[in-house]
């Protein structure tokens, strides 16, 4: 669990991939994490006022994982994750408006209000979701990597999952295929310590950590301190370069923490862990505060600029709420659109035979 990690900056800051960061790049990382947090806080507020349906799995506390890893993406790199997907969406460049509108179930949402919180997609940004079934995305991640290799493209697929997903069969089948066929996929376990309300120790059998299971598939693995942006980038970069250049998969276990419950509907989230534990993380292990402090120490960021960035993120989230609230809902006619490609594109195939039975 992440509580064993010290919060001192690592030597990863000296890694080439981090030394090449400009001051602006570093501030951008801070800005992205701040935007994610403000977006999540705004969505929580709207959820609590009854504006949204279903689940809301918040990413607050884990921002350095999505932002740090996705900051390393190149043209042919792809991303796929599970249902805690808002952070990755904003990190790949999706807009707050379309993301917030999706939560509101509006036609202007990134999935036209058809997917909801757990199902964000942006294929134009190499972002393949947003998947609701625990570990259901892990074979798809292998498939993205398979397609890259098949097409002869130099790239990799980053497939994120939670620590609660590591005991699903589909994940182990994916690991076997990834290693067997040398697929350029990196499984990124975002270990926030809890599989919904069940702690890691009560849900998983392991030796030193979950990523170590890679050894049984003859696969590379690494354990990463998620509160250290430099370490996240340095270690992920190694895995990505290995995948791109040698078509070899890996498992990265990035230790992190979520402040909120599994979802907002998780009524017990202060029972299966103590309020003191949550406070300790917020106070000593918050990835945004730590990165901010690091940039202060480096003289890259001033307190004033940090405040501006935060205010701007807050304003952007508020504007997204306004956009979502003012947007129209999809119509009853929209329910049967986006089911079949051939029907949507009015092809001869789409016009042959009855597709819907209403």
């Amino acid at each position: 669990m992440a509580s064993t990690i010290a919060s001192t900056p690592s030597s990863s800051s000296e890694a080439e991939i981090n030394r090449s960061l400009t001051a602006d790049d570093k501030i951008k990382l801070f800005e992205q994490m701040t935007r994610i947090r403000r977006f999540e806080q705004a969505s929580l507020k709207s959820y609590n006022s009854g504006k949204m349906g279903g689940f809301l799995h918040l990413y607050i506390g884990q921002e350095s994982v999505a932002v740090g890893t996705i900051s390393l993406m190149q043209e042919n790199d792809h991303v796929i994750t599970a249902y805690r997907d808002h952070g990755h969406a904003l990190a790949v460049g999706m807009g707050m408006n379309e993301c917030m509108a999706e939560l509101y179930g509006k036609a202007t949402g990134c999935s036209k209000g058809k997917g909801g919180s757990m199902h964000y997609f942006a294929p134009d940004k190499n972002y393949w979701g947003g998947h609701g079934i625990v570990a259901g995305q892990t074979p798809l991640g292998a498939g993205l990597a398979f397609a890259l290799k098949y097409k002869g493209l130099k790239g990799c697929a980053m497939c994120y999952l939670g620590d609660g997903a590591v005991n699903q069969g589909a994940y182990h089948e994916s690991l076997n295929l990834a290693a067997l066929w040398s697929l350029p996929v990196i499984y990124v376990i975002e270990n926030n310590g809890y599989s919904m309300g069940t702690s890691q120790k009560r849900s998983s059998a392991y030796q030193t950590c979950l990523a170590q299971r890679a050894e049984s598939y003859d696969m590379e693995w690494d354990l990463v301190n998620g509160e250290d942006m430099y370490e996240v980038r340095a270690k992920t970069h190694i895995a990505m370069e290995r995948a791109r250049n040698e078509c070899r998969p890996a498992i990265l276990e990035i230790q992190t923490y979520r402040y909120q419950g599994h979802s907002v509907a998780d009524a017990n989230h202060k029972k299966y862990r103590s309020p003191e534990e949550i406070e300790r993380y917020k106070k000593h292990h918050d990835p945004i505060s730590l990165w901010q402090q690091c940039l202060f120490d480096e003289g890259v960021l001033t307190e004033e600029r940090a405040k501006e960035i935060d205010k701007s993120a807050k304003d952007e989230a508020a504007a997204a709420v306004k956009f979502a609230e003012e947007s129209p809902f999809p119509t009853v006619e929209d329910i049967t659109k986006d089911v079949y490609w051939e029907v949507d594109n009015d092809t001869e195939r789409g016009r042959t035979g009855r597709h819907f039975f209403n």
Partner: protein
């Protein structure tokens, strides 16, 4: 016209599509070096090599899910299930991912994947290997499901399935793989969503898909020679999308229908066809619609009893005589 086996007709379809489109590849258990558990892919690995014809470990959830992921990036995987019964370990991938990802992404993604293999009883392999899940699959918007009865349709539908931009699940039949049928040398497609009249008749419509079409054709011959009843046999070929016009025009002509399918009766394909006819051709019916299904129990092993459990010529004739 030349006669070739059903399995070889599919084999030709796969080979032609591999040659036509570089994104088409085959993947499944024993499809490559072993030449296919049912020899459907015989010779294709020799001809097209490791990239296009790939042996998978016994890992259906993994490799079918992987194929779905690859299809999102534009590949056109043709995945073989040794039995459709094995799909059940991959259902999360086949239903939640392949069928729903287009919808959940608001139309941004599509999955041009084909999953094919045999789905039938009648080979004494017990309940776990004898499922016919076309009704389960047809229940899922976003999926297409076809079930060819002849070599001609098996080839033409397979080529259409591979070119389709939506997921198409093809249910074949181990008892048909060795059946020969007329297949032209020249290229052709059979459109998905188009039924076929396999025997013209005027007195009653026998509506079926898959191997039950063959059973209906046998029943129709006996009905004609022994009972003076001229039955029409409608082969659905495609379950979803469904060719309603052909079904309805046949029933409107014959005014009677017996529906035959290997699904279990409860919520089987014939239940849907029954609803269709009563909704849209009620006034044309001179008798209740009757159905012949697999007897409602898990597939029995005992070989002579399994023959009785599946739709038989005898049961079809009994139902026809009850209303004609």
């Amino acid at each position: 016209m030349r006669l070739i086996e059903y399995r070889d007709a599919i084999n030709e379809a796969l080979a032609e599509e591999i040659e036509r489109d570089e994104n088409v590849f085959l993947l499944g258990e024993e499809v490559a070096q072993y030449n296919g558990a049912y020899k459907v892919t015989r010779g294709l690995w020799d001809r097209y090599g490791d990239k296009r014809v790939i042996d998978a470990p016994i890992s259906e959830a993994g490799f079918i899910g992987m194929g779905i992921g690859a299809s999102m990036l534009g590949l056109r995987p043709v995945m073989e299930l040794m039995f459709w019964s094995f799909a059940y370990v991959a259902f999360d991938q086949m239903i939640n991912n392949a069928a729903c990802v287009r919808y959940m992404s608001g139309g941004l993604i599509h999955c041009p994947i084909v999953v094919r293999g045999p789905a039938n009883g009648g080979t004494s392999v017990g309940a776990t290997h004898s499922h016919t899940p076309e009704n389960f699959v047809a229940n899922v918007p976003g999926l297409k499901v076809v079930s060819p009865a002849t070599a001609y349709d098996a080839k033409g539908l397979m080529k259409s399935a591979i070119r389709d931009n939506d997921p198409v699940y093809v249910m074949e039949n181990t008892l048909l793989y060795g059946e020969k049928g007329e297949v032209p040398e020249e290229e052709y497609l059979v459109p998905i969503g188009s039924a076929d009249i396999k025997r013209e008749g005027s007195d009653i419509s026998l509506i079926a898909h898959g191997r039950c079409v063959i059973t209906c054709l046998k029943a129709a011959e006996i009905l004609a020679s022994e009972h003076g009843i001229n039955a029409e046999v409608v082969d659905l070929r495609s379950i979803r999308p469904l060719d309603e016009e052909t079904i309805l025009s046949s029933v409107k002509k014959t005014n009677r229908a017996v529906l035959v399918d290997e699904n279990k009766p409860f919520c089987g394909v014939s239940a849907q066809i029954c609803t269709l006819i009563q909704e849209q051709a009620f006034d044309y019916l001179d008798a209740p619609i009757l159905r012949v299904n697999t007897i409602d129990a898990p597939a029995i092993y005992s070989p002579p009893m399994e023959i009785e459990q599946l739709p038989t010529v005898k049961r079809i004739i009994e139902k026809v005589l009850a209303i004609a």
